[in-house]
Symmetry: C2
Subunit: 194 residues, 2 copies
Amino acid sequence: MFVKTNGWTSVSNAPLDLIAANLRRERDRTGMSLSEVAKKAGVAKSTLSQLESGAGNPSVETLWALGVALGVPFSQLVEPAIPRVQVIRAGEGPVIHSERAHYSATLLAACRPGTKHDIYWLALEPGGARESLPHVPGSIEHMIVATGRCLAGLADDPVELGPGDYIVYPGDVPHICKALEPGTTAMMVMEHTV
Amino acid sequence: MFVKTNGWTSVSNAPLDLIAANLRRERDRTGMSLSEVAKKAGVAKSTLSQLESGAGNPSVETLWALGVALGVPFSQLVEPAIPRVQVIRAGEGPVIHSERAHYSATLLAACRPGTKHDIYWLALEPGGARESLPHVPGSIEHMIVATGRCLAGLADDPVELGPGDYIVYPGDVPHICKALEPGTTAMMVMEHTV
DNA sequence: ATCAAGAGTTCGCCAGATCGAACGCACCAC
DNA sequence: GTGGTGCGTTCGATCTGGCGAACTCTTGAT
């Protein structure tokens, strides 16, 4: 079942605090100093200082500039965050059956708002285990196997998956995705926390 | 390497114009008058007037209030608009090959931030064509066929899809999803516009 | 024709967001 | 020690976004 920590309502709904936290988090992520970011964004470092401390009510232009400087697209700065690992085996999960039959739908993940989702189709062939795509911090990967079998998940605790199996795991830590059979295909949603 | 067609850079990067347009669009959608929205949001109608005309550089608080009044979650106001129907056949689309082989990824859709994405696994059996799940206005459905064949898309112009084929279409207009073979499975991402 | 109500725009004022400079602090070189 | 460099914070001056009042224009009732 889904915990529904969508953050939207539960978070201190003062967007300002949220922004403050996000600015700080993103800056930490880039490793830049406050002064550095401020200069790069073309805003006074005093301004940034105040914003990060929760004071102030930034204008769109200021926030935008900061977003650019931090390499994150704005909305990132006004939305929350979260992650973990979960597997839903084929046939498990909350199923919605059509009473008019011929059809069933399984809700695998109700994703967070304020994130960007890129959808991929993967074709995998057996070979050396490997890291998947390069990812930004905070990203999450959802994967459903269509055909074949594969080993996926955290590098130190991967899971074997067959057709219809679903897994979700953080994409910003070591993880693998390795085919166990020829002709393995899967669909992947990369949740960018953009 | 990803092409990064996230639309972020390509859009008239004056966020102010974008916001102006979005404010107007959302207000039109609700059918409310400028004065009405302004009052509901607790901002002066002069302010809203200026914002909608592209002048001004709103603060976060103001934008937030307007977002609430309009019933859209803020980020909606600072992001571009939407697409139509598109099919990417298996094998088409921008493919990213791993030079370390055994693997390829196809970017099917870089979805809009500020939207909610629910991921489903579908099992379909041949039978009467049917409407899919009930959807809120503004929703979009992404679908990838895993096995079998099906007919999907707009009710008056459906498309036949096979394994690996991808389609995206509006979910708030009549549309169908009908299996053509037994054991047809597919994965679906419903994009909710939160 | 007149008046009233609502629409959206324009204008002057003021709180406050932003700025630049000065400040205190830590670290390192000499 | 002394000077230099970088950090983040604080402080007064300035600029401007937001507000309310006044304005125009349209619509509809009397």
